[in-house]
């Protein structure tokens, strides 16, 4: 499927979420087109987090549905949402604290790779190549968010700002491989979709980096 510029990427249709008698979300509808960047604001308890949790499959909506890239995703399986291309970070950073920064991002590649038990044990050529690619991409992303100097450090030892950056890198790792998007427009769409819902409170520094990073990637 080829994605037109400006085609609808995320479409939520009257989503409601009740916790017992409490209506956290009632009839939320929104539509985001490809390439658009939105912020979601509201006072405490407005249901921002609930909406994100619903859209990423952590919560099951009480009613309503949403589609992503034309695919219905009213599921209770977060991993399928991630596979479809929605990656997320968390309000209170949820890294894998005792894994190194690099390993954290490598876990992010899980959904785009496929080596199983047999591959792990035999370590055949395909598995070795895949591992090398995972490692390479993870290092690339660490560089992109500016944490590559602490790749071997345990996640919980990083300062708060770096932890947030690392979480963004991990979310981006779940996107499609950028080297392939130049060849396949569908992949490109999916990859950019993957970057779409990175919910962040990142500072201007990262945004500057972001612009530089995107520019250099385009140049490459």
């Amino acid at each position: 499927m080829t994605m037109q510029e400006g085609a609808t990427l995320l479409e939520a249709h009257s989503i409601s979420k009740h916790f017992g008698g409490l209506a956290a979300l009632s009839e939320v509808s929104l539509s985001i087109r490809k390439g658009e960047i939105y912020g979601l604001i509201g006072p405490n308890g407005a249901g921002k987090t609930t909406l994100f949790n619903t859209l990423t499959g952590l919560y099951q909506a009480s009613s309503g549905e949403f589609t992503f890239n034309g695919q219905a995703l009213d599921t209770r399986q977060p991993h399928l949402v991630a596979k479809a291309g929605i990656a997320r970070t968390f309000q209170n950073i949820r890294l894998f604290h005792n894994m190194s920064a690099l390993e954290n991002v490598m876990v992010g590649r899980h959904v785009r790779t496929k080596a199983g038990v047999l591959g792990a044990v035999l370590r055949d050529r395909a598995t070795r190549a895949e591992e090398a690619k995972i490692r390479h991409r993870a290092q690339e992303l660490l560089e992109y968010v500016g944490v590559s100097g602490r790749a071997a450090d345990v996640a919980k030892h990083l300062p708060y700002g770096d932890q947030r950056r690392l979480e963004i890198a991990r979310a981006q790792a779940a996107g499609e491989d950028p080297r392939r998007r130049h060849h396949d427009p569908a992949d490109r769409a999916r990859r950019e979709a993957g970057d779409g819902l990175v919910r962040s409170s990142c500072g201007a520094g990262l945004r500057k980096k972001d612009r530089r990073g995107t520019a250099s990637q385009r140049a490459a």
Partner: protein
């Protein structure tokens, strides 16, 4: 600890290989044949502990009923290679079959417990272990399947063609007794399981297991299918248990439900925790230590007799007392295990900084 240069490493490996090759003869000469048997059991427990390590150490799922898979493997071998049913399937068919059936039981246990964590998971797995044991104990009526508490006797020894491991063989002037033969078979399989564990640990699957242990919600949000990956951990762990069970049945020639009680599960868990959860060399060390130590403490009785000319404290009691004391001391002074993994050490020594994990 690990030699830096490559030659030094090769020399160390060569030395280790020679030591492992002559170990049964060395032990036989110095300590006697009973101890060769204990070494065989140590190898068996290495396999069991490494299986449990996948579930508890890698994926962080506390399983207190692990011995059930050991029992499944052992009974499968016992029932299909003994006069009990008059079926005598060969060893090479039974071992993979035992592994597969145990894996199936692993999934059977895993499926209903997917949503449980920590204490709750421990309770359910404990119940599962007991269910299997009680079934084995009572499946002798109305149709006699397991022969109940009497167990299954006269199980075929493991044999390759005409070469039975239960008999002594003279090869090149050296006599290989039964315990020696089994030693080499167990050693080969234990090395295989160590190899598989190491490879799994450092792979896409191994990372997914650790990610689930660290933060299941975040792991799911990153696209890890937590259901399948957890079931895989249960199945892999159970596979190792099933293989060990088959070997145990062939080695002992007799199985009964008595061998698969809760105490056994706890012992295997102790090997994993004491050695170093999630760390393969640590778990191997833990398994050897906890097999050899209780046996060594048997000598406390004769020692008392020699020292005081009478036995002051019953050796069986003292043995458990010293054993328990040792465990408590290790948990106080080395909470990450005797040979801990780097990651585990970080978790336990600097847990103050990781308060955000919830």
């Amino acid at each position: 600890m690990i030699p830096r240069s490559k030659t030094a490493a090769w020399i160390a490996y060569a030395f280790l290989a020679i030591l492992l090759a002559v170990l049964p003869f060395l032990v036989d000469a110095v300590l006697g044949r009973t101890w060769v048997r204990i070494v065989d059991f140590a190898l068996l427990y290495i396999m069991l502990a490494l299986g449990l390590n996948i579930v508890v150490g890698f994926a962080g799922l506390l399983d207190l009923g692990y011995v059930a898979f050991y029992a499944v493997g052992a009974y499968l071998y016992a029932l299909l290679a003994s006069p009990h049913f008059g079926v005598h399937l060969p060893f090479w068919a039974l071992l993979p079959l035992g592994a597969m059936v145990a894996a199936l039981f692993g999934v059977l246990l895993g499926a209903p417990t997917l949503k449980l964590r920590g204490d709750y998971l421990a309770i359910v797995t404990l119940g599962f272990g007991e269910i299997i044991r009680i079934f084995l104990n009572n499946l002798n009526a109305p149709i006699n399947i397991t022969n109940g508490p009497y167990g299954v006797n006269l199980i075929d020894p493991i044999r390759f063609g005409e070469f039975s491991l239960a008999r002594s063989h003279g090869i090149g002037g050296i006599t290989f007794a039964a315990v020696h033969n089994y030693y080499y078979l167990f050693l080969a399989l234990a090395l295989g399981i160590i190899f598989i564990s190491l490879r799994l640990q450092d792979s896409r699957i191994g990372r997914a297991w650790v990610a689930i242990r660290e933060d299941e919600t975040a792991a799911a949000a990153m696209g890890i299918n937590t259901r399948n990956v957890k079931l895989l951990a249960f199945a892999m762990g159970a596979t190792f248990g099933g293989v060990s069970g088959g070997l145990f049945a062939g080695f002992q020639g007799f199985v009964s439900p008595e061998s698969f009680n809760l105490m056994e599960s706890i012992m295997i868990l102790c090997m994993v925790v004491l050695g170093g959860m999630g760390h393969v060399p640590g778990v191997v060390f833990g398994a050897v230590l906890l097999t050899v130590l209780p046996e060594a403490l048997r000598y406390v009785g004769p020692l008392q007799h020699w020292l005081f000319r009478r036995v002051l404290i019953d050796p069986a009691d003292l043995r458990m007392l010293l054993f328990g004391l040792g465990l408590v001391l290790v948990m106080i002074y080395r909470p990450a295990g005797l040979v801990p993994s780097k990651r585990r050490q970080r978790e336990l020594t600097e847990s103050g900084q990781s308060g955000v994990s919830a």
